[in-house]
């Protein structure tokens, strides 16, 4: 009979769903102080919370600011919890390593940033190359960082074609099987993604997470 821990988990979960960035960290600390193991806090408060944020987004109740705030609150909580894991000699299994960026010629990075935040919030390690990223840089970074996924964002009908160029470069270097390529951005469609030979397409930052998971399901990953 311990109602206390549940209250802590619920409060933290609430804070993440409501995007209370300043409260999520302290609430995570409180949960730890109450003696809850960090893994339990992550699994029972954080993960369900960010999933709820995703659900509210899909339902149309949440929009970009709420989504971002949710992801930020998640990040604040996770910083605290991961620190605690580390000091107890544990570590969280990464969901996968993702190299992300907006393609060359395109500076629209709001969508890309959101995708990165949601991926991070969902346990992925994300290497963000920023915007206007050259085709070669995606491939070089993915190799160096032993990434699992290359995620490409494009917002212009003209720059969409650079997503194709990344796939082409991978093919020509014989690296196509080594990395999964995931594409997105407002003008990009499922059909386009298929045509250019990308492995996955996501319509939103929330979908990006499930697509990334599916791409890596049943696969060891390149990282240790």
């Amino acid at each position: 009979m311990k109602p206390e821990p549940n209250n802590h988990l619920q409060a933290l979960s609430q804070a993440i769903v409501q995007g209370l960035v300043d409260e999520a960290g302290p609430l995570a600390e409180k949960a730890l102080a109450a003696g809850l193991p960090p893994l339990q806090v992550i699994e029972q408060a954080c993960v369900p919370a960010i999933e709820e944020v995703g659900r509210l987004w899909e339902a149309g109740d949440y929009f970009l600011p709420e989504l971002i705030a949710g992801a930020e609150a998640m990040k604040a909580a996770m910083t605290v919890l991961q620190e605690a894991l580390k000091s107890s000699g544990q570590s969280l299994k990464s969901a996968g390593r993702v190299v992300i960026g907006t393609v060359e010629g395109d500076i629209h990075d709001i969508g890309k940033n959101l995708v990165a935040s949601m991926l991070r919030a969902s346990g992925f390690e994300v290497i963000d190359l920023g915007a206007d990223v050259k085709v070669e840089r995606f491939v070089e970074t993915a190799e160096r960082e032993k990434a699992d996924i290359i995620a490409l964002s494009a917002l212009l009908t003209t720059t969409m074609l650079n997503q194709k160029r990344v796939v082409e470069l991978l093919v020509s270097l014989g690296l196509k099987d080594k990395f999964k390529v995931m594409v997105g951005g407002a003008p990009v469609t499922e059909k386009f993604a298929r045509e250019i030979g990308a492995d996955g397409y996501g319509e939103s930052a929330v979908q990006a997470v499930s697509v990334a998971r599916n791409l890596l399901a049943g696969r060891g990953g390149n990282h240790d």
Binding site: G105, D106, I107, I110, D132, T158
Partner: protein, 601 residues
């Protein structure tokens, strides 16, 4: 006594005025709020500023006036207002079509005030002067030019570079000629006999979706007819970026885009000429206000640089070009004047719109917002003008919105929440067909008021949609798209204000141009947060300011001078390089007045 008492009869009005001795009548008329068209800038050579003296003792005629009277034989009671110097009390009748004001009103609606520079400067881009020339004058090109130059009192005059149409081709037996002069500096043609009543100008607004044109009589300075068609380039891509992509794809494609545009302009011109009962070959001047991409395509300039970062135009100001070179079939000597690009995607449609509002030469801080797909914003502070484009997208043109449509008859343009439902008004009071931009904005404002919509953009009706009218609902996704478009404009505006170090409370006025026309309620714009909560009198809806600006460029030398100076005053701000864009954009996604609260940076 140094003052002269005067009485002016203008239309149905009688206006009393006083003048200092020796002042010209035209000057006094201007002071009295009755500006008249001075076709030759009061040089006494056009003979067009005739007023009728109803009573009073007539003063001496000037040499110029004597000469003109001899040639034109107007009755003695008619005098040239620019020449007549006042010494005795007079009663003068001003012919209606000599007054500048009625035309200005029809051009601009109620908003353009008397402080407009071009009021002081009616000066059509191309003018015709009737001249007597001797056989010797015509014998040599040089002599001809200098004879015309001195005859017209011009500081400089050059021949049109188009050698085939040199005025020598006119039979030398005739003594009376009509000189066609471009911008008081270029002799386009010398026509035999007297043809100075046939001179028209074409104002063009070449937009991505719509091409609008207005035909003007350049003698009277009045609009004859206007029309618009859909831009047929749409067949090659709906938006600017797709057109650029198409143009770059294959060598012949730029030409195809050009031909499509030219064809629609030719069609428009035909229609306008027919409607006005004139000939297209009487058109000697075209003023083009096209967006950056359209300007490039029209002038046959490569669009490549506009297709990739950093999105720079190939030119800002462009020399006037012969219409024949462009491929427009008007008068063979017709010239095209292009309103300058200002940088990035901010093009000639914006420069002409700015000129129309008089903003570049007005003291004070002003904001100009064009609510089109490109979402251009200009901010004037002191002598500088900052411009940016925010890429709002076409949501407020009704595109991508489930029940959206362009502002055509039948579209809801306004709604009001009352007694638990929306009361709506459609354009032309026609049968309801959808919602246009102003209607969409109006629904947002009223839904907020009704509590059907939260500032976050969430619909609270429980059905994820807002019922606007029978069979017409706005979905949650529609709202999201509108939020994105609004946020682009709002954040762009705030970042420009920030760059200039200006607070919105310091604005002396805000011009809203583009799709909304005058059907939108400023209070609703403020309620959704599109505009900062300025007092009503500071918010001015301009309608199609680009076309009106093109008209102004046809009619006013001051406007053209201002157009030439404009790119020098303007600094293009690339919002893409603004560090805090994302934060600003996300904040701007929320609806309502909160975004403009002070200290909410």
């Amino acid at each position: 006594m140094n003052k002269v008492k005067l009485k002016f009869l203008a239309g149905a009005k009688i206006i009393k005025a006083e003048a200092s001795r020796g002042q010209t009548l035209s000057r006094v008329l201007f002071r009295a709020g009755l500006p008249i068209k001075l076709y030759c800038q009061g040089r006494g050579i056009c003979g067009r500023c005739l007023v009728e003296i109803k009573s009073g003792r007539l003063p001496e005629e000037t040499e110029a006036e004597k000469k003109l009277r001899l040639e034109r034989r107007f009755p003695p009671c008619f005098r040239l207002a620019c020449q007549l110097r006042l010494h005795q009390p007079l009663t003068v009748r001003i012919p209606d079509d000599l007054l500048l004001l009625p035309e200005i009103k029809s051009l601009a609606g109620r908003f353009i005030g008397k402080d407009q520079t071009w009021l002081r400067d009616y000066n059509p881009l191309v003018k015709k002067y009737v001249l007597q020339l001797s056989r010797e004058d015509l014998s040599e090109e040089e002599r001809l030019v200098s004879a015309i130059k001195s005859g017209l009192g011009l500081k400089q005059l050059a021949l049109t570079p188009d050698a085939e149409h040199k005025p020598k081709s006119v039979g030398a037996s005739r003594r009376q000629f009509t000189a066609v002069i471009y911008d008081d500096r270029l002799l386009l043609h010398l026509e035999g006999g007297r043809t100075d009543d046939r001179i028209l100008g074409l104002a063009l607004d070449l937009g991505t979706t719509t091409v609008s044109a207005r035909l003007l009589d350049l003698v009277q300075g009045k609009p004859l007819a206007s029309a618009s068609v859909a831009n047929p380039q749409a067949a090659f891509g709906a938006d600017l970026i797709s057109r650029i992509a198409f143009a770059i794809e294959r060598p012949g494609n730029l030409k195809r885009l050009r031909r499509a545009a030219l064809k629609s302009i030719a069609q428009l011109t035909e229609v306008l000429a027919r409607e006005a009962g004139v000939k297209t070959r009487w058109v000697y001047a075209v003023c083009l206000a096209g967006n950056a991409v359209m300007n490039h395509i029209f002038l046959n300039q490569p669009v490549d640089s506009l297709g990739r970062a950093p999105f720079r135009p190939a030119f800002l100001s462009h020399e006037p070009v012969p219409a024949s070179e462009i491929g427009l079939r008007l008068n063979p000597q017709a010239m095209v004047f292009t309103s300058p690009n200002l940088g990035g995607f901010v093009g000639g449609d914006i420069s002409s719109g700015l000129l129309y509002t008089g903003l570049p030469d007005k003291p004070g801080n002003y904001l100009y917002v064009d609510l089109g797909t490109n979402g251009e914003i200009a901010l004037k502070k002191g002598k500088k003008i900052l411009v940016a484009s925010t890429a709002a997208g076409p949501a407020f043109e009704g595109s991508g919105i489930s029940c959206g449509q362009p502002a055509l008859p039948g579209a809801i343009e306004y709604v009001k929440w009352s007694e638990g439902r929306f009361k709506y008004r459609t354009i032309g009071r026609k049968k309801l067909s959808g919602l246009c931009g102003s209607g969409l904005l109006s629904v947002l404002a009223e839904s907020l008021r009704a509590g059907w919509l939260l500032p976050s953009g969430r619909i609270t009706t429980g059905r994820s949609e807002i019922p606007v009218a029978p069979g017409l609902t706005l979905s949650q996704l529609d709202i999201r798209k509108l939020q994105l478009a609004l946020a682009a404009i709002k954040s762009g505006t705030r970042l420009l204000l920030g760059t200039a170090g200006l607070d919105w409370t310091e604005l002396d006025g805000l011009y809203l141009a583009g799709v909304f026309g005058s059907s939108v309620d400023p209070a609703q714009c403020i309620a959704v947060g599109l505009l900062p909560p300025l007092p009503r009198r500071k918010i001015i809806f301009t309608g199609n300011a680009s076309l009106a600006g093109a008209e102004m460029l046809l009619l006013s030398g001051e406007a053209r001078k201002s157009a030439a100076r404009l790119p020098l005053k303007v600094q293009h701000v690339s919002l893409a390089e603004q560090e805090n864009f994302q934060g600003e954009f996300l904040k701007a996604l929320s609806l309502g007045r909160r975004y403009w609260r002070k200290n909410d940076v």
